[in-house]
Amino acid sequence: MNDPTALDPRSPEVVAHRGAAPSGRLERWLEAAGDRLNPILVKETRQSLKSRQFTLWFVLLLIGCWVTTIGAIAYVGPSIHYLSLGGRLLFVYYVILALPLVVVTPFSAYRSLSSEHEENTSDLLEVSSLTARQLVNGKLGSALLQIVVYLAALAPCIAFTYLLRGVELTTIALLLLYAVLASVGLSAVGLIVAAASRQKYAQVVASVVFAGVLFIAYSGLVAAASELIRWDSRLLHSDENFWRQLALLSLYMTSLVVVYAGAISLTTFSAANRSTALRKAAFLQQTVFVAWVAGRVSSGLSREAVVQYFVIAVLYWFVAGALMTGEAPLLSLRVRRTLPQSWLGRAIGTWFNPGSGSGYVFAVCNVAACGALASWACRTYAAVGNVSWETCAKTIFLLTSYLVAYLGLGRLAVVGLRRITEVSSLGAFLIQVLVALGGSGLPFVVRTLNERVRVDDIASLTASSPAWNVPRMLDGSLSSDMEIIVLIAVGAVAVAVFFVNLTLAGHEARQLRVAAPRRVIEDDQDQHPVEKQATNPWGDRPTPAAPAS
């Protein structure tokens, strides 16, 4: 029966009373926290909780664990008190847990963004106020939430393995950390793959390839877990292993930053600055890499190994450079509003700005810096090894010249083609790769076609091939004449190509900051009104003007 004197639960009195109570405060706090949650995360969580796929995997995971636990106990019987079963049982649980973590969750993240394109909801997200960062964060957050749920479901079983003895707590923690990191990393990769493949045919190919990669990653993780459980406590107690783990972790973290920045860059609108964050992330990764190599050099790394690490840096900057040189040569007005203005800012910041020319110079500068550091390390710090530091320096110079030349030639080809037709970023990347492969592979193709041809006969063809000359330069199998020819020829081409590209990139460096349109400034002032500053040392602020009558 209705009581007429009863208060409506939504009436201000009831709300005020509820707000004063501790539970009311908690409710308000939770509500405020809920408001600040990423909208994508909220939506994805609601969808996941109602989806059959999540329910199915969750139930399968539980069933798998129960069957394993009951089966193991029944099989071992009373000897469970004497046997150290923990390690073996942990491995089985890990095999079960790794499947949803390393395969299902990343693939869900990929499908989640991919289906936004398929269902055309990506258009609706794009026209909303959501930023690309929020979108990527939301999708990653959703993956992380699934990981937490799966881990929570398996937590009692994992605790059980510790009680059974035979495995250390640090090993368990490390194994779970690996699985979580792999899951997050692969989810981020899934997002970048989904963001890059918008066409139907690309989505189909990407789905198959990505699923394959996930299963390979799953097998790798399971194999690594088996090794880790075998090593158990010795793993972290070994000095070398400890540093190796830390290096891998830093490599993983910086790669994650690059992938994350890449996913945002592919998701944001075209007039936005899609490049600077990605270049900063790549620069960060290079810095961390150099720091690790420096650490290894100080602990006695050989000169050959330093050069080998430099090869990795060159390959890295070739790929990054090929992607950067494919960027549009014109800066949008929006990007030009944020260009650095000071002399120092322009000198350094210009090469972080989006643009094909700036990307080329950025890659070349990074490789040159790495080359200089590597040469210095070979001369001063690295263990002697079998190679003289002069040979190392020559090899480093040759590698740098090849990168400068090939990246520059590829860029010139793209710039030329863009005068005739439209060339996408992917197309520009493929052109770069084709130019480099063409030059590198020429002597090998000739040798394959005619096995009787002598090396001397094709000397002129080998000059263009880093794959041919670099290993020979390092092991000293190039004749001294050939060494000089290759160094001078490749060096001269590199210098020429660099200056041609630098000249062409000049207009990018000369771009000046443009003022934001009046409407934008007005809008900024509306949204973030700035309090008028004091006009004298006593802090008096100007009095607001009286309203006009």
């Binding site: 909220v42 258009d123 026209v127 929006r334």
Partner: protein
Amino acid sequence: MTAASGRPLRLPKTTAGPPIELRRVHRWFADTHAVNDVSFTVEPGEVFGYIGPNGAGKTTSMRILATLDEPSAGDAFIDGFSVIDDPDRVRSRLGFMPDYFGTYQNVNVWEYLDFFARAYGLRGNERRRAIAETMDFTGLDELARKPIDGLSKGMKQRLCLGRTMIHDPSVMVLDEPAAGLDPRARIELREMISRLAYAGKAVLISSHILTELAEICDRVAIIEHGQLVAVGTVEEISRCVEEEINVRLRVIEKDIEHGQDGVVAWLAQHAHVDRVVGTKDGVAFTLTADAPHRDEALARLLAEIVGAEFGVTEFSSRGKSLEDVFLHVTKGRVQ
């Protein structure tokens, strides 16, 4: 202006310049010139119809306005912000309803609106109020907990309109909102759009159902092969193109010579009259006249008929419908 419940609708934010402005917009897709030098503006509170045959460039123009595509040349502005340089500011002021639903699985009506309210940055009470008002306005209150998959097409269209207006945009761009709806749902949608315009929002709407556009649009633009071929009110465009006036006439049957048959014979010999048809409802014919002298020509003809001693009981002319205008304007003008 009130919502269905009688509560006032929120007024749009203040704007600088026209809410919608296209300035010499071009869009090429390889060799196809999908949008060719299109310029027009839409004022606050105006419903602007955008009509054209399939592939004329309507959707492309609308996608450019919605920041989902970029013009190859020219620019478009929403509330004074460029769609190229400030798409983020445009998005917060624009409600775009594409010609597809774009719904999510495993989500109910309330959750769907809640997601988009969050996506537009609405928080706390503001968000709850926006959802309540939107559901009230679109009549979806009863269906709040119903999964979207189970909604009828008309209800989905309402939901999409709700999603479009959830953040109270000052500009709404609606691409074929009435496509596939039954007559009742179309009438309801038309009413909702009129109410939005009455609340001060600038509405750009494209539709194939021209009779409906004629009823709700203040102005229309006709586009064909990417080019605008006419812009103005339906009357203005009609007046410009009207050369043949449809006229209906009824006379008293005085005698054989001065009855309906007589007037049919008389009209058939008239220099400016054509297609004379006698029916049981009277006589229908077309009068050829210059558009600016339409009324004078009609008056002169009526005087001539009366002067010929026909007892005229009814003499009415019908203006061209939007469909007539559309067909006339787009017929082979642009190749």
